[in-house]
């Protein structure tokens, strides 16, 4: 859908968030996961008219609250005080997750430990012995939205690709991820094909060599 582009430098977090924000269609209903995805909201423009959903029962969430605007009854999924925009609405938890599970959100942006070329997502549990598992809304978010996008570093600290042929971490959702934003490249996933839309600080050829999966290059 977009032509292949490349930049000299890897993307920093704000650059990634800015690109994700620009990719969100005007008027979309969006859920931004905890962590890096939350930063996307800082780059959405008023003209885009994007409405943010928070799993704990609100549409029309505004920016983080500060000072006198802090209200303990108005928080986001990360339990951070937020604000309310005109046109907001509140609903209970079953209705909130019905909205998500029912496919009404256009885009959900999540962090990840790993994504497979089939779009399988791992982001809830390391599977390490002794780790206490916690899932929250991750599994609902992964499979609920019309499009699930991931923001993550492409490589682990030891240099292994987090975009994999098959997950080694426990699954969050199967075949749900359609786009991955990383510091080194942006990927579109569809029907088992991984298309590189752009590379950053790395050439397509070098990327293809470092990743354990076949890559297509955007036209």
């Amino acid at each position: 859908m977009s032509t292949f582009t490349t930049t000299e430098a890897a993307l920093n977090r704000d650059e990634m968030a800015k690109i994700v924000a620009a990719d969100i269609p005007a008027g979309a209903f969006v859920n931004l996961g905890i962590g890096q995805p939350t930063n996307v909201s800082n780059f959405l423009t008023a003209q885009q008219g994007v409405t943010l959903h928070t799993e704990n029962g609100m549409l029309g969430m505004g920016p983080v609250a500060t000072g006198d605007d802090i209200d303990e009854d108005l928080i986001n999924a990360g339990k951070i005080p937020v604000t309310e925009l005109p046109g907001a609405s509140y609903f209970h938890h079953a209705d909130s997750f019905a909205m998500m599970r029912g496919g009404h959100l256009d885009v959900c942006v999540l962090g990840a430990f790993q994504v497979s070329e089939a779009g399988d997502l791992a982001n809830w549990h390391t599977g390490a012995p002794g780790a206490i598992p916690a899932v929250g809304g991750a599994m609902d978010l992964a499979i609920g939205a019309k499009a699930t996008w991931v923001m993550m570093g492409l490589f682990t600290k030891t240099g292994e690709s987090k975009l994999v042929e098959a997950l080694s971490y426990p699954v969050t959702g199967l075949g749900c991820v359609s786009r991955i934003y990383t510091e080194s490249a942006i990927f579109d996933l569809s029907g088992g094909t991984v298309t590189v839309r752009s590379t950053h600080g790395i050439s397509f050829e070098e990327l293809a060599q470092r990743l354990p999966i076949d890559l297509a290059k955007a036209a």
Binding site: G27, F29, H53, L59, G60, G87, F91, A98
Partner: protein
Amino acid sequence: MAPRIATTAAEAVANIHDSATILIGGFGNAGQPMELIDALMDCGAKDLTVINNNAGQADAGLALLIKERRVKKIICSFPRQSDSWHFDEAYRAGEIELELVPQGNLAERIRAAGAGIGGFFTPTGYGTLLAEGKETRVIDGKGYVLESPISADFALVKALRADTHGNLIYRKTARNFGPIMAAAAKSAIVQVDDIVQTGQLDPEVVVTPGIYVDTLVALGGKN
């Protein structure tokens, strides 16, 4: 996406096509989107599947759609009423298919569609004719029937008021099927008395969040 605001009921329903599945709100006259149904009549779409609590009354609205044989199938809980003569005639002539669903299962199936639930076990109808051919299961000593979601291409809903984001409030028992039908349709078309600017509805009292509303038309009203 903020809802499209149509200027007439005809414009609001213009995209409804032949063979569409349509959820139509209302219980009795309360909450019936009369003007949208009339516009659907005028727009000519046929071979429709309609989901409504009833199967039309007297010589108006849904009854006329059935009279004109534009409805090939109806899913409802209570087709037979003293004034359901057009349905009665079409049914006896074998010219309309009827899927009869207990009212609470009808509501829950519509809710399930909007909520992404693939099916649910309900005690209602267990051991009855209306469970015949359906999967049943005894859970903790009680019998249940497996029911599936009912989604649709369109919903025609009547609410009291909308804001320009599509947030809706209803009035008294006219609320009935509106909120669950709006959520279960690919495209929810809503007639309201009036549309106010965003920010004029209290976020605490919004019943249908705007995310579920695709087309709005303001038709005035008595309230």
